[in-house]
């Protein structure tokens, strides 16, 4: 984790501190409003005392965590969010298939043959892309991520049979999908 110290006015301006602070504070305050449940816990509508409590709690949390949650610079964030939503829908379908596959292996319809495979992903570069890909591997039928090496993009994966392992190393369908969502090109241009 590198620590950057801002010495010149260009550094402070390009870090957009105000935007991060205001965004984090508004998200925390809306979260507090939703959790305090106006029609269940407070029979009267909101007045100044209750809202000041919410502002106080949200302010404390924001002062502690505002540098963490929103990244400093992001290019084409809206387009990545727009491509992420059908990915989440595909992911929920994969969760259903995963439970079906585990059910078949527990009841004895399909055999068990566990193995550990390693592969590289030259396409993904940012931290969030590594996180999304590792979570998707864990939610896909038959595979769980064991180790992630972010410098070379090397994933170590434990597969429960030969077919899920082949679908990760040979087909590489999911890697291309995650690379398309985060708009990252492959490095040598051959895959």
């Amino acid at each position: 984790m590198e620590m950057t110290v801002a010495f010149s006015p260009e550094d402070i301006k390009s870090e957009n501190r105000t935007f991060r602070f205001v965004l984090t504070f508004s998200v925390m305050f809306i979260f507090w409003l939703l959790l305090s449940a106006w029609s269940v816990y407070f029979p009267e509508p909101y007045d100044f005392t209750k809202i000041s409590r919410g502002v106080f709690c949200a302010l404390i949390v924001t002062l502690l965590t505002w540098e963490m949650f929103v990244p400093r610079r992001g290019d084409k964030v809206l387009m990545k969010v727009q491509r992420l939503i059908p990915y989440i829908g595909w992911e929920i379908w994969q969760i259903y298939l995963a439970a079906l596959d585990v059910a078949k292996r527990i009841l004895g319809i399909l055999p068990i043959d566990p193995q550990i495979v390693e592969f590289d992903t030259p396409m993904l570069r940012s931290d969030f892309a590594f996180l999304t890909f590792a979570t998707s591997i864990t939610l896909t039928p038959g595979t769980i991520t064991v180790l992630v090496d972010p410098e070379r993009g090397r994933y170590t994966v434990h597969a429960i049979a030969k077919e899920p392992a082949d679908s990760l190393t040979v087909d590489q369908g999911m890697q291309k999908y995650v690379g398309w969502v985060f708009m990252e090109e492959s490095k040598e241009g051959e895959k």
Binding site: A37, I95, A98, V102, R105, I106, P114, T135, T138, I144
Partner: protein, 104 residues
Amino acid sequence: MLAIDIISTLFMAAGALVMILGTLGLLKFPDFYTRLHATGKCDTLGQILIIFGCMIYEGFSFITIKLLFVTLFYLFAGPCSTHALMKAAYVTGVPVWKKGDKRM
């Protein structure tokens, strides 16, 4: 009984069935890594199904939003804790079961 009652009962029954299968996998599988397969996947999906059934039964109110928060949180926290346990066991040196070994 209304249609909403029947739909939510179906979701909760499916979730309970998936949880029973996850527990059977915990007893039956021969190795730590394969048991984590059964636990991590079946637990997450069973919980999502049962809480979704409760959400449908409730309708639109503030309790539904809180249950949605629990579901979304566990959708991200379940695979994360599974991966953390798997990494800790692999680095420490728990042996991997191959086909034809003894049960461990």
